[in-house]
């Protein structure tokens, strides 16, 4: 019991990652509002950032900026990768929102069921 709890506490960031992943995916699937879906998608992508950044952290290490005083640095590569992933995520989110704005103008609503009610063939 204690061991399980300890295991849990030691790996809490992985559990947060999994929680974000699942809840993001759930929102995408379960919500009918197009903007809420995008928020879920964003949450889903956020879990990836945490997944990558967790192993990059090295205990007692500094930021990866070269200085003679320090010898251990955190791994900078995952941070760079995630900077790229964040840019991709922002671009996707912005494009998605732009599409939602256009959908709102075309259909007059951003609720999925109302759109399908107006345009049954779109489903």
């Amino acid at each position: 019991m204690i061991e399980t709890l300890e295991n849990f506490a030691n790996h809490y960031n992985f559990f947060i990652t999994i929680f974000l992943m699942i809840s993001g995916l759930f929102i995408v699937i379960a919500r009918g509002n197009l903007i809420k879906k995008l928020i879920g998608l964003s949450l889903f992508q956020t879990s990836v950032y945490l997944l990558y950044l967790t192993p990059a952290k090295i205990l007692n290490a500094t930021a990866p900026i070269y200085d003679k005083q320090y010898s251990t640095y955190s791994n900078p590569l995952p941070h760079v990768l995630m900077l790229t992933a964040i840019v991709v995520g922002v671009a996707t989110f912005a494009l998605g929102l732009a599409l939602v704005v256009r959908i709102k103008e075309a259909y007059g609503t951003i609720e999925e069921d109302e759109i399908f009610a107006k345009d049954p063939e779109a489903e």
Binding site: I65, L83, A98, V101
Partner: protein
């Protein structure tokens, strides 16, 4: 908003320092947290704050939409152009060795130019996105 004296004067005071901070972040990026991405967002933030306080029309006077639209591909052109220049100098794509007499200096130069490209694109994209969304539903 026209009458809100404190906001307008306060914003006018802050705006130049935001831009200054953006430039600090930009050029301090090689020895400390920062770089073109953050600087681009900060400088775009300046324009957006300006637009919120003084109106979008005034902001478009400062940063015309045509220019903003050209900044987006323009920055990428600077970035990719750096790579092409390094190819013309006889090195691999994005190998900055040819930019100066020795390796480290050359790479500092290369990254500096690339970061300027990033600044231009990010700043342009942020402002363009703001313009695109803020105008919807008005007309």
């Amino acid at each position: 908003m026209r009458l809100d004296l404190i906001l307008r004067v306060g914003a006018k005071l802050i705006l130049p320092f935001i831009l200054l901070f953006a430039l600090y972040v930009q050029f301090h990026g090689d020895y400390g947290p920062g770089g073109g991405f953050q600087a681009g967002v900060i400088s775009a933030g300046m324009v957006i704050l300006f637009a919120i306080i003084f109106g979008v029309r005034a902001a478009k006077h400062v940063a015309p939409p045509r220019v903003v639209e050209m900044m987006v591909p323009g920055g990428v052109l600077i970035f990719a152009g750096t790579g092409v220049v390094s190819m013309l100098l006889g090195y691999n794509f994005l190998d900055y060795t040819g930019f100066a007499h020795e390796f480290l200096h050359a790479h500092e130069w290369g990254i500096l130019i690339v970061e300027i490209g990033v600044l231009v694109t990010v700043c342009g994209t942020m402002i363009a996105m703001f313009y695109a969304f803020v105008e919807r539903g008005r007309t």
